[in-house]
Symmetry: C2
Subunit: 251 residues, 2 copies
DNA sequence: TGACATTTGTTCGTATATCGCACACGATGA
DNA sequence: TCATCGTGTGCGATATACGAACAAATGTCA
């Protein structure tokens, strides 16, 4: 790949889009420049481009993204068979379990939700396709990390900001790696309020017919209703069932 | 806005991303060039840029989008208060109604799902945030079009490809405009198997405290379980309740 | 099979567009 | 009033797009 095989204007524009987020729904030119570290003039050109294409609104002072920006993610969601195939199985799983079920894949140090069947809300944060959580402290994250060669998992943990979201969060890399080995052996991961107090979840990997792990599926429940020690007993059979069904239809 | 306030490299890159879709999950350079109408050399540079940034994978022949691309849509979903505020109300609505509830906004001739609480699957197609449906034949689309000045609704209908998805689909622009006037008067829209046989839905507009229509909320049900003539009776009170609650919290 | 046509990916040179910087200007507030 | 912050603009240096040409792969037909 040569130096000139890279369109930096495009890359800069994508950085500007990603500058928008929960904390920054509305950005002025200077805001976006500060967040992206790009020159104000450059950011301004990118934002005006977004606005002219209908991906952003501009009131003369602040820019906000429009729903048209979802077309970009939609291209992935509809182009990738995974979410479409998984969704009906999730719906069934959520109904049988009486709890929310989700599917996610790994992207760097984070897991990305690609499908979700919500039975009832148990988390304070709102999860939907495209939502992200740190892998090290999420049940699906543990399962996905366990599916990687250990060196790679170690590398991802090293790049992660291992912070204790609750007193129960495990943050020691060696302890996490030991847990990953356990997950690899047993084939499932349970999180007991490591992400948020009151929330438990159990996840299994989802592989295709060649045994490649493509995603993870989990069930989340309120710790008050389902203590962590009961998670496996109550939900693992259902998850195994879903896992087996998906193995046959994924390629 | 001056000529130079536009980054055409960025705009070209976005066109390339949108070239991916359900029918085209994997694109070669030449494919993408054909779809976008851009020069092969230019498309190649954009695709290699996407690949280098981790937004796409490249096997030497075909490009596919990666989940990282969802960050772009996620920027909107988490940056925009609407989905986050609406989701808990949708969950509640879906539970009370025992049917799926969704929220969407208008983008051109299409509605875009921004949040969804799925109770059970009634449609053959899979809906999730970011999914799109033509506005003219969806209940939320009717409601959103009805909220526009008539000239604008007429223009959108003119730009829409009015095709009959089922024998019940209404495709005559004048008939649709008359229906929009009815929807505007009555404050809700019912779709009886116009999008897909066996599927009924009812939608109401969601406005903020200043009366601006920001989105639409609907309930979908199987026509076998809930005939169209019973939709209003069974679900309109629940939808009105949700509508009133949202009016108070949206601004 | 071999020769030829077509398609696809890649490279190159140059005209053109874009970047980052510096500066001007207006708004806001101390 | 002055300092500060944010926006818009002109300019030289640099990066990019385009079209064309080339190489390699693929398809086609006798």
């Amino acid at each position: 790949m040569r130096e000139t095989d890279f369109v930096s204007g495009f890359a800069r524009g994508l950085r500007v889009v990603e500058a928008f987020g929960e904390a920054q729904p509305r950005l002025s030119i200077a805001d976006a420049a500060k967040i992206t570290g790009l020159d104000r003039a450059t950011v301004r050109r990118s934002l005006l481009t977004l606005s002219q294409l209908g991906y952003a609104d501009y009131d003369g002072k602040f820019f906000t993204l429009t729903p048209k920006i979802l077309r970009l993610g939609h291209a992935y969601l509809s182009a990738t068979p995974l979410p479409i195939i998984v969704q009906p199985y999730l719906d069934q799983l959520a109904e049988k379990a009486g709890q929310s079920a989700s599917a996610s894949v790994l992207d760097g140090t984070e897991i990305v939700y690609v499908a979700r069947a919500s039975q009832r809300r148990v988390m304070s944060i709102n999860l939907m396709p495209g939502s992200r959580l740190p892998a090290y402290c999420a049940s699906m994250g543990r399962v996905l990390l366990a599916a990687l060669p250990e060196a790679e998992a170690r590398d991802i943990l090293a790049r992660s900001e291992l912070k204790a979201n609750t007193p129960l969060t495990r943050t020691d890399p060696e302890e996490l790696l030991a847990e990953l080995r356990r997950v690899r052996d047993e084939g499932y991961a349970i999180i007991d309020q490591e992400l948020e107090l009151g929330l438990c979840s159990i996840a299994v990997p989802v592989a295709n017919d060649r045994g490649q792990v493509l995603a993870a599926v989990n069930i989340g429940a309120s710790a008050a209703h389902v203590p962590a020690r009961e998670m496996a007993e109550r939900f693992l059979p259902l998850l195994r069932e879903t896992q087996a069904a998906l193995r046959l239809v994924l390629r």
